[in-house]
């Protein structure tokens, strides 16, 4: 075991982690621990764009953006945070441009903007062009630009280090962050990083679904690490299902395709979104479009022999426009489906995409241990966190924005904290839990296989807690997850070595997914209403009286060692906007 000491430690090197690192490195001795090489992070998969009311191509302002964000989130958004997001959006796009990001340009040479779902002029009047983009690889360009600037700033990376545990020390009865424990993939060695401040920027948790746009490595490690140490997770029942994933594979086809004029059609060729969202049509918010697609499928208007998908039609768009604006996604259709999007519509289905919930933070990125108490020294930003700017449903292009705005804020806040705070003592045997976990898995002779349990989990989640949920389906999921968690205790790995043991890490990642799936299902069961990404067929309406509040889920361990989940609730911060019915 090795012990390291840094002022600030950042867990994750995606957009949020690297944006934080650029700030933190300037202000404090910073280490970035990442399980992937930074440029492999899933921010690179983002396609469509990043929202900011630059008003480069038409009238726009941050207040309209705030409103759209609040409405898009079905009024579960903390409005103070949404306002910060929309206001700071403008500088955060300009900062990226100054760092070198090659945005697409208007004929005047300014940053070009395009339409995206849920973004409107003047509180829902008509779609507005607010998304700043670089073809359909905006996330790739953000990730590359941030990495380039990390190289420039001399950011210190520990690549292929997996953070597996959060260290907490109580000082005068208050939980403080003491550091993290990491596993080095290349050698199997365990490292303890003592730090005054720790920032989680470890991304999403989509891999508990089968059809998902998320990478294999998005297994919610950060959420799980803090949750196991008794800290809450907020709004985990809210997961976004993006309308246009490649049929069966889940690979994303950006909403930018509809922003450019693409149309969804059922088997009769009908533009069905006109029925469900007369104004915004194909550009209604994602939860609305995903439900509409499944309604078409359920009512027998799906395409293909099994009627299990619909079409994204780009054939009426000029090939030059597709080549210039959507080169990557048209290539995905060619590579993975053998389909030519110039002439043929693309089969799509909703795909599990984005975790609205996560580690609760305030607007400075400080992590909360209950509704109000800050954990000194602990920060989170990006998809792992819940500020909450996305509420019950995130608007497209608001996440690339979130990672930049709140990545930057967390980086500054953490570094300023570590400049004035001292180290808190490490707990005794800081690596004990990780060592035990690793040794148990490596030595286990159990008969259960990781891949089998993971597949059963994913199929269960797809079937029971996806776009449509009921008491019955969620209960089925809760029971199944409990069974899988039992079986997981008996899991073993074949690779017993120390070097690049990805077999072992997949087992650990599965443990995280199981814990988080359980939190999601239990939180969903208790929310007896429909709001944003959480749609209950047995409670189809939003219930502001009882449920306009955030879920806070805590792990409890009884005296006999039995684990359970305790749910609590936190009020929503409301400033300008009263909840209204959500129509597009």
């Amino acid at each position: 075991m090795k012990i390291h000491k840094y002022d600030t430690v950042i867990v994750g090197a995606g957009g949020a982690g690297m944006r934080a690192a650029i700030e933190a490195t300037k202000r404090s001795r910073t280490a970035v621990l990442t399980k992937l090489y930074p440029t492999r992070s899933h921010t690179g998969a983002a396609q469509g764009g990043m929202a900011a009311a630059l008003a480069n191509v038409e009238e726009d302002n941050w207040e309209w953006h705030t409103f759209d964000t609040v409405k898009g989130g079905d009024y579960l958004v903390d409005q103070d945070a949404a306002e910060i997001l929309a206001k700071e959006a403008i500088d955060s796009v300009l900062d990226l441009e100054k760092m070198g990001l090659p945005f697409n340009r208007t004929p005047d040479g300014t940053i070009d903007q395009r339409r995206f779902g849920g973004h409107s002029r003047n509180h829902g009047e008509a779609p507005v062009r607010r998304s700043c983009y670089a073809a359909d690889r905006t996330g790739h360009m953000i990730l590359q630009t941030l990495y380039q600037n990390c190289v420039k700033e001399g950011v210190e990376f520990f690549n292929e280090f997996y953070v597996l545990d959060q260290l907490i020390t109580e000082v005068d009865g208050v939980k403080h962050s003491a550091g993290v424990v990491a596993y080095e993939l290349a050698t199997g060695e365990i490292h303890v990083f003592q730090a005054k401040a720790v920032i989680y920027a470890s991304g999403g948790t989509g891999k508990f679904f089968k059809v998902t746009s998320n990478a294999h490595t998005l297994t919610g490690d950060g959420q799980a690490a803090v949750y196991r140490r008794g800290l809450p997770l907020e709004d985990m029942e809210f997961f976004q299902f993006h309308p246009t994933g490649i049929w069966r594979m889940g690979i994303l086809l950006t909403e930018g395709a509809r922003g450019e004029g693409g149309i969804l059609r059922n088997k009769d060729g009908e533009r069905f979104m006109e029925k469900y969202a007369p104004v915004m049509k194909d550009l209604a918010s994602r939860d609305v479009v995903s439900r509409s697609i499944y309604t078409e499928i359920r009512e027998g208007r799906g395409c293909g022999p099994e009627g299990d998908h619909v079409y994204l039609d780009l054939t009426h768009l000029p090939p030059e426009q597709l080549d210039a604006k959507l080169p990557d996604i048209t290539e995905f259709a060619r590579t993975y489906l053998g389909i030519e999007p110039y002439t043929d519509p693309i089969p799509i289905q909703p795909t599990a995409h984005y975790a609205m919930g996560g580690i609760p933070t305030n607007v400075e990125g400080e992590v909360l241990s209950d509704n109000t108490t800050v954990v000194p020294g602990l920060y989170a930003a990006g998809e792992v966190a819940c500020v909450s700017v996305h509420g019950a449903n995130r608007l497209g292009t608001n996440s690339l924005l979130d990672i930049n705005v709140f990545g930057r804020r967390a980086g500054i806040a953490a570094a300023e904290y570590s400049a004035k705070a001292g180290y808190v003592e490490l707990p005794e045997n800081p690596a004990e839990q990780v060592v035990n976990q690793v040794e148990r898995l490596r030595n286990s002779t159990g008969t259960e296989r990781v891949a089998a349990i993971r597949l059963e989990l994913q199929e269960c989640m797809d079937a029971n807690v996806m776009v449509f949920r009921t008491e019955q389906t969620i209960k089925t999921a809760v029971e199944k997850i409990a069974e899988l968690r039992e079986r997981y205790k008996n899991v073993s790995v074949q690779d017993k070595g120390k070097r690049f043991n990805t077999d072992l890490l997949e087992a650990i990642e599965l443990g995280n997914l199981l814990d988080l799936a359980e939190v999601m299902a239990v939180s969903a069961l208790a929310r007896k209403e429909s709001r944003g990404g959480h749609y209950r067929e047995d409670y189809p309406n939003r219930d502001d009286v009882n449920f306009m509040r955030h879920t806070m889920a805590y792990r409890e361990v009884g005296e006999d060692g039995t684990e359970s989940i305790r749910l609590d609730y936190k009020p929503v911060v409301q400033t300008r906007y009263q909840p209204m019915e959500r129509k597009y």
């Binding site: 090489y37 100054k98 760092m99 090659p102 340009r105 040479g109 380039q148 600037n149 296989r449 690779d495």
Partner: protein, 259 residues
């Protein structure tokens, strides 16, 4: 060795539900294994599996790892050609495992898979990427401007100027090009095509003002002049970047000293 046969997998072959109509075939993967914890030598190992030929090589590697041999080791993340994790030599050519469909590989013969060349193999298909990223860092891969007053708004750039370096912004740093280059195999000191591609991305960006410095770096004995225009890199690039053309443009800029 079994010849692949077209057959509908029965229950034991366990096609995934919903895929029951797909024709599963039996394919042999011949993978070069290496684990210094076990042996100092690498060995070829054959794995047979049933798989839909429309699936990716990455899916096959996963099936092998998950169902047959958990010790098989490779990197991967996004599974759709965006993150650059899984460049490997498949049937002797550098490709991304997640962007290569089995049907495009003549699955009637064993499909060979091995680590990319020129970088030290750490285990199975995993290589040491540090020298690769070092060469990248050496070309100063970040925008450098000399203006003392930061503009308040964005810097302007015409659509044509933006187009000038569009191709080289697509790079995902997968190393498929560099590790397909015979010059790099013989001399690991050579910067390699990927680093030159990333230098190109800045040299030809109208906003950047350090083109001269980067050109000087590439003028080095281990720089662009080592390139012998074999086009392996362009063939290997999964992002369709015209790598050789980018290198040629850098050479031309060095000769004319005009960007």
């Amino acid at each position: 060795m079994a010849t692949p046969t077209l057959d509908k997998a029965d229950a034991a072959g366990a096609p995934e539900p919903g895929f029951a109509d797909s024709p599963y075939i039996t394919v042999t993967f011949r993978i070069r294994r290496f684990n210094p914890e076990v042996s100092a030598e690498s060995v070829w190992e054959d794995f047979q599996l049933q798989i839909d030929p429309k699936e990716r090589v990455l899916d096959a590697l996963h099936k092998i790892k998950w169902d047959q041999d958990g010790t098989l080791t490779f990197r991967r993340s996004c599974a759709h050609g965006i993150c650059g994790s899984d460049a490997m030599r498949i049937n002797g050519k550098n490709r991304l495992a997640c962007k290569t469909l089995i049907k495009d590989l003549n699955p009637a013969k064993p499909i060979t898979v091995e680590a990319i060349k020129g970088l030290t193999v750490m285990k199975d298909l995993v290589v040491d990427m540090d020298p690769f990223f070092q060469a990248y860092r050496d070309v100063m891969p970040f925008l450098i401007t000399k203006d003392t007053n930061e503009p308040t708004r964005e810097r302007l750039q015409s659509a044509e100027d933006r187009e000038r370096f569009d191709d080289t912004t697509k790079c995902i740093l997968c190393a498929a090009c560099t590790s397909s280059c015979p010059v790099f195999w013989n001399d690991g000191q050579y910067f390699g095509p990927a680093a030159i591609v990333n230098a190109h991305r800045f040299i030809f960006d109208s906003r950047d003002e350090a083109g001269e410095q980067r050109l000087e770096i590439l003028n080095d004995k281990d720089g662009v002049w080592r390139c012998r225009t074999t086009f392996n890199c362009t063939d290997a690039c999964p992002r369709g970047i015209e790598v050789t053309k980018a290198i040629q443009e850098v050479k031309r800029a060095l000769i004319t000293r005009r960007i």
